[in-house]
């Protein structure tokens, strides 16, 4: 059965790119959210195997969303998607519970390696 992934990014373009990479490799994208608050909501109902989380978003950012999702499920698997120059935020996200990170723009091979590793 395909592993279920949820995509969180305020840019529909980024979600589209990630979806193409993931679906092309047999993953199922079960949900998309454009900010951290919506991500937390959807996580509760969708219970995906993996969340790919952008860091800077309006309403609620990625780091806060990681904290909230970890409260819902301490074993949640979250992969951060950061921009060049935001590495200090990545550290904070990992301390909050994220498993790993990838840097935009995405190389498909890097994405798939990180996803495989995070899903363990």
């Amino acid at each position: 059965m395909a592993q279920k992934v949820m995509l969180v990014d305020d840019a529909s373009f980024m979600r589209m790119m990630l979806k193409n990479i993931l679906v092309g490799s047999g993953y199922e994208v079960v949900g998309e959210a454009e900010n951290g608050a919506k991500a937390v909501e959807q996580y509760k109902s969708l219970k995906p195997d993996l969340v790919m989380m952008d860091i800077i978003m309006p309403e609620m950012g990625g780091i806060d969303a990681v904290r909230e999702i970890m409260k819902v499920n301490p074993s949640a698997k979250i992969l951060m998607c950061s921009s060049m120059g935001q590495q200090s935020l990545v550290v904070e996200a990992i301390q909050a519970g994220a498993k790993d990170f990838i840097v935009k723009p995405f190389q498909p091979s890097n994405v798939l390696d990180a996803v495989k590793k995070a899903l363990g």
Binding site: A11, S12, M14, M16, I56, S83, M84, P105
Partner: protein, 212 residues
């Protein structure tokens, strides 16, 4: 109008050029990865411009641009802007999202998202080059997109910034893909005192004595 070259020492100007080179290199790599094609770059201009010099720099014409703007938080608060010539946007969208029918004056939601994301990623590229030299935390925030005349966009940002520093750091990069060239103009508009902080941090980071 004040002479922009007198605003900086020769050393500072060299430092800025190096930042421009590194930033543009990062940006070209990022653009390459986004469009899936090899992109080279040449840094055409790197300078510090006084606000009243910007109209002259833009050639005094009403260039139409797609302008991605975002706040920069952290130890050097500023506003970052990237301008792309509007007439190249359809081509850019075609490369980014595979749509050939984007009207630059009425971009689709996906088209807008792609351009914003490109602007955000390129800004990250320039800022990370800056970080390498000044070691100041710089986090860029949520991007917005405005399609309008370059001068109108700058005018609005400058007015919104009100009493903040009256200079902008400008890096203009020509991106070359095959036989096509796209010029991206990156503006960093620091808040009051930020520019001084920037150069002090640079001096410290290079282990240099005294004020730069």
């Amino acid at each position: 109008m004040s002479d922009p070259t007198k605003l900086l020492t020769e050393f500072q100007l060299d430092a800025l050029k190096e930042i421009g080179n590194v930033g543009s290199g990062n940006a070209a790599t990022a653009l390459s990865q986004m469009v899936g094609k090899r992109v080279d770059m040449s840094v055409t201009k790197v300078l510090v411009l006084p606000i009243d010099g910007i109209a002259g720099f833009l050639g005094g014409n009403d260039r139409n641009v797609a302008a991605v703007h975002m706040p920069v938080y952290g130890e050097l608060p500023c506003t970052a802007l990237i301008f792309f010539p509007l007439d190249r946007i359809p081509e850019l969208c075609s490369m980014l999202i595979g749509r050939n029918d984007e009207d630059p004056f009425a971009l689709s939601e996906l088209g807008r998202s792609a351009v914003k994301e490109l602007g955000s990623i390129l800004t990250g590229a320039y800022l990370s080059a800056l970080f390498r030299f000044v070691h100041l935390q710089l986090i860029h925030g949520v991007p917005g997109l405005v399609v309008d005349m370059a001068q109108a966009v700058l005018d609005t940002v400058l007015v919104e910034l009100e009493q903040r520093d009256e200079v902008a750091i400008v890096i203009e990069t020509e991106f070359l893909e095959n036989d096509r060239a796209l010029t991206g103009s990156f503006f960093l508009l620091p808040e009051a005192g930020s520019l001084q902080k920037f150069f002090s941090a640079f001096t410290r980071a290079m282990g240099l004595p005294g004020n730069a």
